[in-house]
């Protein structure tokens, strides 16, 4: 609550290029507030006490489609939630760009894909995306119950756009959640994310 991204910083982020690892592993995650697909305001710090997964989403991106069409993302979301985690899907696509969704579009996406996030959050100005230096869709961040960033990077270790390459992949998100739950350090805490670039406003 106290570390809300201030307006000036938002402007600065919007003007300057986002630089990587704005959220460092082992450091407190910057708090943010976004509106979800049903119009509800969601604040990160409301979930203190539970691990939170952030998933950057662009339904037009073939890499995202690969994970949703194969059911892998929905399965990961359900498994994470069953383990007590909160799953926030964030769309930072700017209006007019590929994959941008309004509230109705986001509701339709969740229904059509049988997606299971706790909330689908709308970030059309890319403020949270840039504040977290989200680069690709998908791009995963995991914040633990104490509000500390524990993982950032790809969803798995098979960077490909083809569905059939997914079978033997290591799901970095679920692995990190399991290790956090067991009170262990996250063994793979940072990976290079892969996918489409987040379609921020120019």
């Amino acid at each position: 609550m106290t570390r809300l991204i201030p307006v000036a910083a938002i402007l600065a982020f919007a003007l300057a290029a986002p630089s990587a690892a704005e959220q460092a592993n082992g450091k407190a995650a910057t708090d943010f507030k976004l509106t979800d697909a049903s119009g509800k305001t969601v604040q990160l710090s409301d979930y203190r006490g539970k691990p939170v997964v952030l998933e950057w989403n662009n339904p037009g991106c073939p890499f995202v489609q690969r994970h949703y069409d194969s059911g892998n993302m929905q399965k990961t979301q359900a498994t994470a939630k069953a383990g007590g985690a909160v799953w926030l899907t964030i769309n930072s696509g700017a209006p007019g760009k590929q994959g941008h969704l309004d509230a109705a579009g986001a509701r339709k996406f969740v229904t059509d894909k049988k997606a299971a996030p706790t909330h689908y959050l709308l970030d059309p100005k890319g403020v949270v995306g840039k504040g977290y230096a989200a680069k690709t869709t998908p791009h995963i961040y995991i914040i633990d119950a104490a509000g500390v960033v524990r993982y950032q990077g790809a969803i798995d270790d098979k960077p490909a756009a083809r569905p059939e390459a997914m079978g033997a992949a290591r799901n970095h998100a679920l692995a990190a959640l399991n290790e956090i739950k067991a009170g262990k350090p996250v063994s793979v805490a940072q990976t290079q994310p892969y996918g489409c670039s987040v379609k921020y406003a120019d």
């Binding site: 986002p18 590929q98 083809r162 489409c196 670039s197």
Partner: protein, 682 residues
């Protein structure tokens, strides 16, 4: 070569397209209308058993689309290959050409915006009978994107090789040579890197004389080391190029491709080590700045005794001395005059630096290796020298003395006027200063102009503060003319030095042409001087001088440095060709062949410490050893193939062919004088 369109693949693509279309119309592609066309070509269709054959994936993205490098950057995906190869045949990893950068909304992409060709090498097993068909199939998955959308595309490529004699046709050779030029070359020596406090510093061995532009960039292959979208600052530190940028994390080894900014690229590995902070070059800059300031101060001081400045100064000084005003008034006048001079000179300098900034974007970086620039400087320096020698005069506007004499209150204006009116005289000196500012950073350039202004104002400043000087003022006279003529000597020496540089760039013919242009230029200036003496206007003569300059500069650009074939190079070495090597071997002569490049530090060290030493030269001469040099600076593919044949990916390569031997002895990459001297005996 042949793109098989199997029916089931077509159905797969159509099916996939429908799937994509249902999910996102923007990303949908009609089947068969790929945005990236890929052609699979083998260097030879008839590889010999037991040999390697190179396959090229020649990719052409549609306009506005781009393909990705091995490390795609912040987003994207590398190419993925799934091979179906005959038994015993193995394929290497894919080799990528040097990429370019594409920054979209703060996200860095390492891409190819135009056609690009990747290479894979197949190993053909030994013992295959000639005529054995080798069907090669490969499924290549590419990600191809515009600034807006990305589409994963699949190419099912195939071709059939036949085991044969390995003949490479001239057409294939030419295509592969062209493609190979775009591949990064191995730099040959290891770099160092240090990551601390979120800052990465990478030191790459890079000779001080090798080109390095503002566009220089280190493309990282090792993930999670560098922040891709952070700017990279590239500086020189002796025989090192130092890259400073933001770090993402810590790594134990850093691989990448170093691009000096001229289209070339060099594969390099850096290991952890100490890399000096870039504060070091800054310190050097400041000592250079002091030298420049001192030189400019002296130059400005000399300007005071130029014929067009001296009258103004002396008139003003005399009026100050005569009027016998208070010390305070004299000082105020001197300071105002100084301010006027300095401001005008700085304004002029600023304008020149502005021009330079405009020029910088079109590539001033290599201007000192440009013969046209050298010739222009030669003519400029010659004109100054001839002017100092008294061949012709630069006109001083008449009203100068009149205005400067009056206006006791307007000392500032007098100073400004003096600096401004003095420009015809200072012009040549300004020209030299401009020449210096072309190679200096802007703040040093401005410092030079500041020094020039201060130097110009210094005598009057002293006169204002030291009354004794006012009384001891020298009178203008014949001594000034003599002094001026003496000053022409260093200028003529400068012109000779520039002619020599021109000779180095363009050979004897180029130097001769430059000197002929210089003579024509001097004749025109002489005509100017004659007409001046008769008091005739000479606008036409000035136009002629300009015409001679332009014509000369055009002519010098058409001269090619004579091909060095057959020419004796440094240390009695000849340029390497395979034909020359074969001829020498046929004669039964011992040969030492070495392969070098201007960007190779190890090569330079070996040349200085061993090859080009007198002891080695004498030992080789005595034993009748012919030395052949292969210069691989521009990545000549013919040399590249020869080097590869000796199991080296690049330079340095040192070969010793003993008397009567067809096969060389490959020498180690670090040479010593003793090792080379001992060669003819062993």
């Amino acid at each position: 070569m042949h793109r098989y369109a199997f029916a089931f693949v077509t159905w797969l693509v159509v099916g996939l397209a429908c799937l994509l279309a249902s999910a996102a119309p923007a990303a949908a592609q009609p089947a068969g209308a790929n945005n990236l066309a890929v052609e699979l070509v083998a260097e030879t269709d008839m590889p010999a058993p037991g040999s390697d054959v190179t396959l090229a994936f020649a990719a052409t993205p549609d306009p506005g689309w781009h393909g990705y490098w091995k490390n795609p950057g912040d987003a994207g995906l590398e190419t993925r290959l799934d091979w179906q190869l005959p038994r015993g045949v193995t394929a290497s990893d894919l080799a990528y050409p040097v990429p370019t950068r594409l920054l979209i909304a703060g996200i860095m992409n390492y891409v190819y915006k135009g056609p690009f060709t990747q290479f894979a090498t197949l190993k053909i097993p030994a013992g295959l009978a000639p005529g054995t068909p080798l069907p090669i199939r490969v499924r290549a998955d590419y990600l191809v994107c515009t600034d807006e959308v990305c589409v994963p595309e699949t190419e099912n490529l195939s071709l059939t090789l036949t085991v044969g004699d390995g003949t490479i046709t001239a057409e294939r050779r030419a295509r592969f040579d062209q493609w190979r030029r775009a591949l990064p070359k191995p730099l040959g020596s290891e770099g160092k890197f240090a990551i601390a406090d979120g800052i990465a510093r990478i030191a790459i061995p890079w000779p001080a004389g090798a080109p390095l532009t503002d566009e220089a960039y280190f493309y990282p292959l090792t993930p999670l080391a560098l922040t891709y979208n952070a700017p990279q600052k590239v500086t020189r530190d002796g025989d090192m190029a130092v890259i400073e940028t933001k770090a993402t994390g810590s790594v134990l080894r850093l691989d990448g491709v170093f691009a000096p900014g001229n289209g070339q690229g060099f594969g390099v590995t850096a290991m952890p080590g100490t890399v000096a902070a870039s504060a070091a070059p800054d310190a050097i800059d400041w000592s250079a700045a002091l030298v420049a300031l001192g030189g400019a101060l002296l130059g400005g001081l000399i300007l005071n005794i130029m014929p067009c400045v001296f009258p103004i100064l002396s008139l003003k000084a005399l009026s100050l001395a005569k009027s016998g005003t208070s010390e305070r008034h004299a000082r105020a006048e001197a300071l105002a005059y100084t301010a006027g001079v300095v401001l005008v000179v700085l304004a002029l300098g600023g304008a020149m630096l502005g021009l330079r900034a405009a020029g910088a974007s079109v590539g001033w970086a290599f201007q000192l290796t440009d013969a046209r620039v050298i010739l222009f400087l030669l003519l400029l320096v010659l004109a100054i020298a001839l002017n100092l020698a008294g061949l012709f005069e630069l006109m001083t506007p008449r009203f100068a003395g009149k205005l400067a004499g009056e206006g006791s209150g307007g000392a500032f204006m007098t100073g400004a006027l003096a600096a401004f009116i003095a420009t015809p005289c200072t012009g040549p000196f300004m020209g030299v200063a401009l020449g210096a500012t072309l190679v200096l950073p802007w703040y040093l350039g401005l410092l030079i102009f500041l020094g020039l202004g201060l130097g110009l104002a210094l005598p009057f400043l002293l006169l204002g503060f030291v009354p004794a000087l006012r009384r001891a003022l020298p009178r203008p006279g014949a001594w000034m003319d003599t002094f001026r003529k003496i000053l022409s000597v260093p200028m003529f020496l400068t012109a000779i030095a520039l002619a020599w540089v021109l000779g180095g760039l363009k050979g004897v013919n180029g130097m001769a042409l430059g000197l002929i242009v210089a003579l024509g230029f001097a004749v025109v200036l002489w005509l100017v001087g004659r007409r001046q003496m008769r008091g005739v206007g000479n606008g036409a003569a000035w136009i002629a001088a300009a015409a001679v300059t332009v014509a000369g500069i055009w002519a010098i650009s058409t001269i090619e440095k004579p091909a060095s074939a057959g020419q004796v190079e440094k240390g009695g070495a000849e340029p390497f060709t395979e034909a020359r090597l074969a001829a020498l071997q046929a004669e039964g002569k011992p040969v030492f062949a070495y392969f070098t490049a201007d960007w190779c530090v190890t090569c330079k060290v070996n040349e200085k410490a061993a090859i080009e030493t007198d002891a080695v030269r004498q030992a080789f001469q005595k034993a009748g050893v012919t030395v052949l040099v292969g210069d691989w600076t521009d990545g000549n593919p013919q040399l590249g193939r020869f080097i590869e044949r000796h199991n080296r990916a690049g330079v340095p390569l040192y070969l010793w062919y003993p008397k009567g031997s067809r096969e060389p002895q490959v020498l180690p990459q670090v040479l010593s004088q003793g090792m080379l001297v001992a060669l003819p005996g062993g």
